[in-house]
Amino acid sequence: MDQLMVGFMTIMEPMNFLSVFVGVLGGMIIGAMPGLTAPMGVALLIPFTYGMQPVPAITMLVSLYCGATFGGSIAAILVHAPGTPAAAATTFDGYPLAQKGQAGKALGMACISSALGGLFSVVVLILLAPVLAEIAIKFGPPEYFALAVFGLSMISSLGSRSVVKNLLGGTIGVFIACVGMDSISGFSRYDFGLTHLMDGISFIPVMIGLFAATEVFRQAEIGIRKIVVDRKISGLLPTWKEIKSVKTTLLRSSLIGTFIGILPAEGGTVASFIGYNEAKRFSKTPEKFGTGCLEGIAGPECANNAATGGAMIPTMALGIPGSGTTAVILGALLVHGMRPGPLLFLQHTNVVYAVFIGMFLANLMFLGLGLGGAKIFSQILRVPNYVLSPIILVLCVVGTYALHNNMADVWIMLVCGLIGYKMKAYGFAAAPIVLGLVLGELIEISLRRSLIVFDNNPFVFFTRPWSLAFIILTVVGLCMPLITSWIENRGQNNKEK
């Protein structure tokens, strides 16, 4: 409780409070624009935080994450194009309600549901993360290896539809982490005679390249695109009675979103679709779904914002990112000299609790901004992509340069942008590569330390309870897509018969 009070006092300092505000505002703007995603926004914001203290820097990034997750619903409701992938399910009922002339009500419900889901998940984060960290502090290298491999195995369900491509992307990410000086033997690997590569490849240029530069090249493919917002924000905000009518949906989606968020590599997109489906399944009027019903907005919006706090739990307590965006946040923590994991709670207690309170505040802040400024945010959709895309690439170049004042990072970023663009064309997603890159070092160090400490015995991973549990979960996680597709095929065959 004392730590929470200290966190609260820290966040109330003007600079930290301002960081939350800027993060939420930036997040809502980025989220509202179709094509700009939360991980991209966080990656682009990192360079602006280099010179900041850790508390305002990390709270700004986390606030952007929360703001962007809600911001995605603005475009989903007004123009039927989700601002972020996590808002895709919101289009099902949000847009039809806007078409009925009740865009204000749809946006209001999305905002309230998002805020409630977000606040619920932050409370779970505050309660659960320290407990998880306390368990994880007893982990040795074998447990960490098994845990990191489990986190990586979960990428089979991230981004692209192909399990093999996702796993291959993750493996490529782990391989990129191998470049540079080997931390145990001290010998260099894959540096191709380039001095810059001897230090390894930094996360940030790769993340900015894969998330932001790739998107600019994809926008070039689309060409000039103007979004026409012909819908006025009209219709009253949801009434107290209407909010009360979706309270069960809100509670269910909060639980679903937080749980999905906790699972390594799952994120807001999966949470929002499950939130929508479950809202429909338990609804007394499922036939109204798709025609502009409030439950259909509350379900996905509450779940995707609940996933933000959920995703922060494994990121902060275990150092295993819960989503693509938290993988970028994890990279930012490392840039600011903090290694996420159980030791973070001992070494940087003040920062951790300030970030938790900052995230709580961010959810309250976008509630106010969203309800009060929906009309203004709808204007952001009018900014054409041919103005935005070159500016994003300028930010990519300047921001990457600012990391080490080094042009080599800029070239790495541009090459990653190019590779990301090509890989996307072949069905590979960026998030698994980033996750692999972030977890690569942890996997290598814990594997080799385990083998050194336990005299080259590979069975050590199967003889320790936690390690064995994570390995079983990994096997189950990897087999799950195969089992699901087998069940689906069987079901189809039976139907045909």
């Binding site: 391989f175 690997r189 060409g223 041919y386 340069y401 050194i452």
Partner: protein, 151 residues
């Protein structure tokens, strides 16, 4: 057969084999066990990658032709390629011409490539962006941006 995936998988397989072969040239102290050498982990990762690529090859052979087999319009390919060239030129420009001038030139070039017709939009964006970058990075964040021969 899904030629697109097969092509990609074969290219990846060749890259992984080359990288695996390269790991034999890593230095090691000679007296250490295999798992403590610098090459141990990259080899494990590359073996996993090769295994996954093999699955991808088998899948692409067994699969039917790619459903979304649409060729990109030549104009689109040209626009993407030119945007990439503009980005590379921007990177070089930052070193030789300086950041602010390169930003303005890059924005003009990209917008022209994309077919933006409004000169007013191009000029305003090309002037305001370097100004904002200068204010935020140079003046607020105190980042010394490369100046090249110009500014």
């Amino acid at each position: 057969m899904n030629n697109k995936d097969l092509r990609m998988a074969l290219v990846l397989m060749v890259i992984f084999i080359i990288l695996y072969a390269m790991s034999f040239s890593f230095q090691s102290s000679g007296v250490v066990k295999s798992h403590t050498t610098a090459a141990f982990f990259p080899r494990v990762v590359l073996l996993v990658a090769m295994f996954l690529t093999l699955i991808m090859i088998i899948q692409s052979i067994r699969q039917g032709p790619d459903a979304a087999k649409k060729k990109m319009d030549k104009a689109v390919v040209k626009r993407v390629a030119l945007t990439m060239a503009c980005a590379a030129g921007f990177g070089l420009g930052v070193v030789y011409l300086g950041t602010l001038v390169s930003i303005a030139l890059f924005i003009v070039a990209t917008m022209v490539v994309w077919g933006v017709e409004s000169k007013r939009v191009i000029i305003i964006t090309a002037l305001l962006t370097p100004l904002l970058i200068y204010l935020v990075f140079n003046q607020i964040l105190l980042v010394q941006l490369p100046s090249g021969i110009l500014i």
